[in-house]
Amino acid sequence: MPANDRSLARLRALVRAREHSRGLLIAFEGPDGAGKTTQRKLFKTWLKSEGHQVVTSKWNSSPLIRPLIKARKKAHALGPEEYCLLHAADFRHRLHTEILPALWEGKTVLADRFLFTGLARDSARGLDFDWLLHVYSPLFWPDMVLYFAVSPDTSAKRIAADRQPKYYEAGQDVTGADDALASYRQFIGRVIHEYDALALIFEFLTIDAEQPMYEQHRRIRDAFAAGGRRPWAKWNLEAVTEWIASVGDSTHAG
């Protein structure tokens, strides 16, 4: 067997051996104002009370790349491709430095938004879906994706109750509208349309985010108890072996 094949076989064996002790990854997805963060916090508290070790990873939070994105957003300096690619870099960096290490150690990871956020928002910005899938490949599949579904009206009402939507959040870079809220209403409709399509393609567990909070929380607990798990050897082999190989290069590779 050639050296490369032997090395790959060794990596695969490592991934398979880890399957039973690794942690679960649960992604919370949905448009702004759907109540994902509230539900994620409630669920985290419950998981901890049940004795799980829990780690949260939020969208656009890599300590290395987030400051770059923040500064460019403030200056309204991002085109759709740059917006997409910087968020994808932030995601990949967190996947390699936060999410995978925690899962490997057996911790449960709650992702407050995952790569589907990038796919939905960037598709809504008019970028080609096949290219986007490529940007985020190798895809890393969560064990469970909880999709908090709300109508564009509800999302806009909840956002407007607190604050004015920000420039990119409102999609003003693509709608060209001066009024942030009017732009948000227009843009969030596109984002939700993309999310609905993703929910079908990627088999999200859809939660009606217009139901009372406790009902939603109970559904999440039920889904967790049902124990959905995507075996890494079948779903995530490429992404995990790439990470292991990069850890071999440097213990902090991201």
Binding site: L64, I65, P67, L68, A71, G79, E81, E82, L85, L86, A88, A89, R92, H93, H96, W131, H134, V135, S137, E242, W243, A245, S246, D249, S250, H252, A253, G254
Partner: protein, 215 residues
């Protein structure tokens, strides 16, 4: 004489070392501006967006990133260069010299273990260069210098390990080899005075240049 409006041309200068790309681009621009050719052209440099500079500024020597993350950042910088430098110059009928462009990133990515197909697809938003010039590496056996801001290969090599790989680094040899393959496959010309003169005459006369950068 500037080229006609809307008839700009894109020249890619690819090299395994950042300084070689810079020197090569300066040489091309000087040749373009010479009395003989008198063509206007500007250079689009790596990290025009300041992404890599800011990363380095924030973490000094502690920037550690995977090859895939580095390529995503390179792509975002290239998207910036295309939006603010390259496309506007082409739209005005000027010559845009992109140093480096696509093949340097592909060569480095391949050397770091990523698939050529993934990198080429990632960078597919970038138009093909009309002319691709390759700066021959005079020190193919040497490592990358410890100057991460010299160019993308140096920055990426440092960020992959948290330090610059030394002499005889396999990655560097692989990257040089990947760029040499371009030349052998006739996708890129060596940047030599003779070939440069021929290509610039073709540009000036509006003759089609041969296809470059087969991806």
């Amino acid at each position: 004489m500037p080229a006609e409006a809307g008839r700009g041309r894109l020249i890619a200068v690819e090299a395994a070392r950042g300084r070689d790309a810079e020197r090569g681009a300066a040489k091309v621009r000087a040749a373009l501006r010479s009395k003989r050719h008198n063509i206007r052209g500007g250079i689009s440099h790596w990290d025009a967006s300041g992404t890599f500079y800011e990363l380095r500024l924030s973490r000094r020597n502690a920037v550690v990133l995977s090859a895939r993350t580095l390529l995503l950042l390179y792509a975002s910088d290239l998207a910036f260069r295309l939006r603010w430098e390259i496309r506007p110059a082409l739209a005005e009928g000027q010559i845009a010299i992109a140093a480096p462009y696509i093949e340097t990133a592909i060569a480095f990515g391949e050397a770091a273990g990523l698939s050529r197909k993934w990198i080429a697809e990632l960078l597919r938003f970038a138009p093909r260069a009309d002319i691709c010039l390759h700066v021959k590496d005079a020190k193919a056996g040497a490592g990358w210098k410890r100057r991460p801001m010299d160019g993308f290969p140096e920055f990426a090599a440092a960020a992959l390990r948290g330090k610059t790989p030394g002499k005889g680094s396999p990655r560097r040899e692989h990257a040089v080899e990947a760029l040499n393959r371009l030349k052998r496959g006739s996708q890129c010309d060596d940047l030599r005075q003779k070939s440069l003169g021929r290509l610039l005459r073709a540009l000036r006369d509006g003759r089609p240049s041969r296809p470059s950068q087969g991806r």
